[in-house]
């Protein structure tokens, strides 16, 4: 058994809904039992030292893992961030654990853990771009991980996995890529720091209703056949491989169930794209070209 290399990973949750944790539980190949217990690629096991939703322990003993990992495994572990980082009020809106009777802000954990990590995976829209809690008026000053770390002068590479939630394959596929070939080159990431492997194409380009868009057959109310553009579909401005990859083990995807794409793989989608069930107006469309959203 000595031939299996243990790759340490620490998964922390900030301003999130745990939806990305739940989404990764939905992984099919490798499934989550294999990911937790077995080799995720031959000869490598992802050793999740800290994962709040599944870990056995509670309280001080597990906080110790967060505090000790940067020293014990310097430069040799992967940090997974789920949720945005609240920066208002000195990070007081989210705390994980205590030290000397004082709450430790989530922001402090992110900074210290990221500084000594091999790489950071910002899992989901909140961790990547600020996501839901950063929607206007962003009452807690939430930001994404890369922006936060840049402000702190931490240079560790960050891989952004947009999505609300992120697809389990986007996460495990990224982990597999890092374990098999090392960190992605800059040319493998898009301008928003997302792997082109998953975010390289517009939803609209491989949508199964694209033919109906091209021939002007549009659904006018829920449940109708036809392209969902008039019902608010954000597929024409969203980069993600949902139409080809599908969700939940290939069961379905949003447009497949008759619902317009919400654009959830993109930064700040609720604010930038306007109401979910309204067609994106031309002025907003023009603005999107200028706004990287990150």
């Amino acid at each position: 058994m000595g031939s299996v290399q243990e790759v340490p990973a620490v998964w922390i949750q900030g301003a999130c809904c745990s939806g990305c944790s739940v989404s990764v539980l939905n992984a099919v190949a490798p499934d989550i039992a294999a990911s937790l217990l077995d080799e995720i690629v031959p000869g490598k096991h992802l050793n999740l030292r800290f994962q709040p939703t599944v870990m056995a322990g509670s309280g001080e003993p597990v906080v110790k893992i967060l505090l000790d990992t940067p020293g014990e495994k310097k430069g040799g572990y992967v940090l997974v961030v789920e949720g945005a980082i609240p920066t208002a009020a000195d990070g007081a809106f989210c705390a994980v654990g205590e030290r000397d009777g004082r709450p430790i802000p989530f922001a402090e954990h992110v900074e210290k853990l990221a500084a000594s990590a091999l790489a950071v995976v910002a899992l989901g829209d909140c961790a990547a771009f600020g996501g839901i809690p950063s929607t206007a008026p962003n009452p807690t000053g939430c930001v994404g991980t890369a922006k936060f770390l840049a402000g702190k002068g931490v240079k560790t590479p960050v891989i952004n996995l947009g999505g609300c939630p992120a697809h389990p394959d986007w996460f495990l596929g990224t982990v597999a890529h890092v374990l098999l070939r090392g960190l992605p080159a800059a040319s493998e990431l898009d301008p928003w720091g997302r792997p082109k492997l998953f975010y390289g194409k517009l939803v609209h380009d491989s949508c199964q209703r694209r033919g109906q868009f091209d021939t002007g057959r549009f659904a006018r109310k829920p449940g109708e056949a036809g392209c969902l553009y008039l019902l608010g579909c954000k597929g024409p401005m969203t980069y993600a491989d949902c139409p080809e990859r599908l969700w939940n083990g290939g069961t379905n995807w949003c447009v497949g169930s008759g619902a317009p794409c919400q654009g959830c793989a993109e930064a700040r989608f609720f604010d930038r794209f306007g109401p979910v069930y309204e067609k994106v107006t031309d002025d907003r469309l023009a603005g999107l070209r200028e706004d990287s959203g990150a």
């Binding site: 056995a56 989530f106 829920p222 939940n248 379905n252 979910v276 069930y277």
Partner: protein
């Protein structure tokens, strides 16, 4: 006298801290605090009301469907289409909510609660026909045991054979809860954060191939619930009989009910819900009167005039307010704390004589050698949850067969300029209400009163502690260093702290962290 602080409490949704004062090996007093604030009610304001059914799902990735359902019911009410939701829309909403009940209940017992009772590390051999145990054994042999250590040690009482079975089911449960999400995604597009539930009904068009695929997945989950989940809960019950006694709490229960049997604009009682609404006080069943719900703030860091019925709710922080110790408000029904969740739903259905629930409860009580009066505490909650999973799974088969391909799925509606709406339903972990106020076609006010707010609330205006606080009092703690009994009580409520937070701030300089409802 010693104060035990557990921060973070893991294997729940969200960030939770528990403080318990222990004297003579028994908890005398307890406080629960959350440690994250995002501010949903603030950033919902000014948005298109229809977006609430999508945005409020992001309150919680474990129970997003409950929020989508409550939101859609509030929107139906406000948009004037509650009577017009077509049967297909009503049924798909039930199937989507029910599928997530199964996912959530299986996840809760195995992934979240079981490690307090089941000893994964005790697996010392695995046979050729035990692939799950072989996987666990290989993992144990490598010696790097994250995320299963560190843990609270001791008090693993299951007989070796039952423990082996439960460990195998722990692995199998990961597949079963995934299957429940796949079943849901047939209608919901994807999960978590499904996309089908909207004002007026749903967006997906049912077809016979989808119904067949749904039923095939459902059958596998029903089999797991009947032959693994329920027997495992009974095995734990046999090994931990004292756990029916401690962690009992307030002995008053509230359920709004869910799974509408007919489309209706009336109150939940007129919707013929499979899990009926009701209130139990002093052992007697009463009808729910939503006007009796109010939120107290005496011991919360909010201005005193924030105490109100939810529709009039306001959230104005009052940092450092004297006598306050929590950012959770205290929802009360007719002035008293009430427990919500599977235990509440099961007891309400039992006292209402609702079948098939009453008969199933009687059967389970006979198997466990209990009377309904003894059915409570830590294990009562786990047993009620497992039984509910079995009953909902059985019922969903009939619901799915009631779908009519080709018939409408959604009532048409337009965004009203001015309107109010209320949506009362159940999340897997208890009664969930959304209150919506629309002005100029935009959200003016949106208030959520969620299950964990009821269960984890602080003391109210009369100084009466909330359900979890009361449940912890009297809990035996054998070892201060391994307070496993405390986390067992807390986890039996299946707390969801992301849901419970409306507003949260820090009490600066005092080292106390809190989340609010």
């Amino acid at each position: 006298m010693k104060t035990i602080t557990i921060d973070p409490v893991t294997r729940i949704e969200g960030h939770l801290k528990i403080e318990a004062v222990v004297d003579g090996g028994v908890v005398k007093e307890a406080r629960s605090s959350g440690t994250l604030f995002r501010g949903f009610e603030i950033f919902l304001r000014g948005r298109d009301p229809r977006d609430a059914a999508r945005m409020t799902q992001r309150v919680c990735g474990v129970c997003p469907v409950g929020h989508a359902t409550a939101s859609a019911l509030a929107l139906d009410d406000a948009f004037g289409v509650a009577d017009a939701v077509p049967d297909n829309g009503r049924i798909v909403r039930n199937l989507v909510l029910g599928s997530n009940f199964l996912q959530s209940h299986i996840l809760h017992f195995y992934a979240l609660a079981a490690l307090d009772y089941v000893d994964v590390a005790a697996i010392d051999e695995a046979g050729p026909d035990e692939p799950a145990l072989r996987q666990v054994k290989r993992f144990l042999d490598r010696g790097e045991l994250g995320p299963f250590v560190p843990r609270h040690e001791g008090d693993f009482r299951l007989p070796a054979a039952a423990n082996r079975g439960a460990v195998a089911h722990y692995v199998k449960a990961l597949e079963m809860r995934r299957l429940a999400h796949e079943m849901l995604a047939i209608w919901g597009g994807r999960m978590p954060l499904q996309v089908t539930t909207v004002v007026g009904g749903v967006q997906c068009a049912p077809t016979d191939d989808k119904i067949a695929a749904f039923l095939a997945k459902l059958d596998r989950i029903r089999d797991f619930i009947r032959n693994a989940y329920l027997p495992d809960v009974l095995a734990v019950a046999g090994a931990y009989p004292d756990h029916f006694d401690f962690g009992r709490g307030v002995d008053a229960f509230l359920a709004y009910g869910c799974f509408d049997g007919v489309a209706s604009s009336g109150p939940p009682s007129e919707r013929r819900r499979f899990l009926p609404p009701g209130v139990i006080r002093s052992g007697r069943l009463e009808a729910v009167d939503a006007s009796k719900i109010a939120e107290h703030v005496r011991h919360s860091w909010f201005a005193e005039d924030c105490a109100a019925a939810p529709a009039e709710g306001r959230t104005e922080p009052a940092v450092g307010k004297e006598g306050a110790y929590s950012w959770l408000k205290s929802p009360r029904y007719d002035g008293a704390p009430h427990e919500v969740g599977p235990m509440a739903r099961t007891l309400v259905a039992y006292h209402a004589g609702a079948e098939p629930i009453k008969g199933a409860v009687d059967g389970l009580l006979a198997q466990a050698g209990l009377t309904v009066g003894k059915f409570g505490g830590v294990l009562g909650r786990h047993a009620a949850r497992a039984l509910e999973a079995a009953l909902v799974a059985d019922a969903m088969k009939g619901w799915a067969l009631g779908l009519k391909p080709g018939e409408p799925v959604c009532a048409e509606s337009t965004v009203p300029a001015e309107a109010r709406g209320v949506g009362l339903t159940e999340a897997p972990r208890g009664a969930l209400g959304h209150w919506l106020d629309v002005a100029d076609g935009r959200i003016r006010n949106y208030q959520l009163v969620v299950p964990t707010t009821w269960n984890a609330s602080p003391r109210d205006a009369d100084g009466v502690p909330g359900p979890i606080e009361q449940a912890l009092v009297g809990t035996p703690v054998r070892d201060d260093e391994n307070p496993v009994e405390i986390v067992r009580v807390v986890r039996s409520f299946d707390p969801c702290l992301a849901c419970a937070v409306h507003i949260v701030r820090f009490r600066r300089g005092e080292g106390r962290t809190v989340r609010v409802v």
